[in-house]
């Protein structure tokens, strides 16, 4: 371990660190869910993140996504890769500025043992879950559904069937023209990341 990593992880649980450093996690989408989840996973010490998103950073993203004013106009995956490197250079980031499709999903995320679904559009969520579960039925996917609005902490839950988890309240849809709000989308993103870390630590099946 390099000097900075040794300092970064001083006092950290060595068993957890080992499990997380050896892990490869995919994140499909780098908006409110994906950018928040990526930061939590890089800070925890995940060894490799694969992140895909075709969009560029815009000013209105800054209300809830982990980007900065000087990153406006950059591809989200490039901006996020830079931010993650500034936090933890030992997390290797593969960045794909691409739209994920049933055709390229395997070539982008094939090396990930867990996939975090962080898309905005419900149809894209459905496509990702169907394709991943058909290709890799034994590998976990942690999706989000029902993140809109403010408050309603008590409604947020985790549903599971086999290797599929869905986090959210299952009722609060983002309406056209109404954007998600910082705190609630970050709560769900961090629940996705928390569940991912728990699975990798062997503490949940």
């Amino acid at each position: 371990m390099d000097k900075f990593s040794a300092e970064l992880y001083a006092g950290y649980d060595p068993v957890l660190l080992e499990a997380w450093r050896n892990a490869t996690v995919g994140i499909a989408g780098a908006g409110g869910l994906g950018s928040n989840a990526a930061i939590a996973l890089a800070r925890a010490g995940i060894g490799k993140l694969i992140i895909a998103d075709y969009d560029n950073v815009s000013a209105s993203n800054l209300t809830r996504q982990q980007y900065f004013q000087n990153q406006i106009g950059l591809p989200k995956v490039a901006a996020l890769q830079d931010t993650l490197r500034r936090i933890n250079p030992s997390t290797y980031v593969s960045a794909y500025p691409s739209r994920v499709t049933p055709v390229n999903l395997d070539s982008i995320f094939g090396k990930a043992t867990i996939l975090i679904e962080a898309f905005d559009d419900a149809g894209e969520k459905e496509m990702l879950i169907e394709t991943w579960q058909s290709l890799f039925p034994q590998r976990y996917i942690i999706a989000a559904s029902g993140i809109a609005g403010v408050g309603k902490n008590e409604l947020i839950k985790i549903e599971q069937s086999g290797t599929l988890f869905i986090v959210g309240d299952g009722v609060s849809e983002v309406e056209p023209g109404i954007l998600p709000i910082s705190a609630r989308v970050a709560v769900v993103a961090n629940m996705q990341a928390n569940l991912c870390l728990e699975i990798l630590a062997g503490k949940r099946q």
Binding site: G123, I129, A143, S145
Partner: protein, 67 residues
Amino acid sequence: MAQITVNGQQLEWEEGMTVNRVLEKMNYSWRLLVIKVNGTLIKKEAWNESKVPPGAEVSVFHLLSGG
């Protein structure tokens, strides 16, 4: 009488019951769904033919935009 479980609720099983028939019986009208039968994902194009066995555990997840 054979039963199946759909999102924790009991439903009477029928001979030749398909995934689409289960959705109809449950009155689910959600637009975007992911469906698992006994832990295995059933793709949307197979809902009309895929049979649900007696005693099956069916999970229907409703997908909502926002991310």
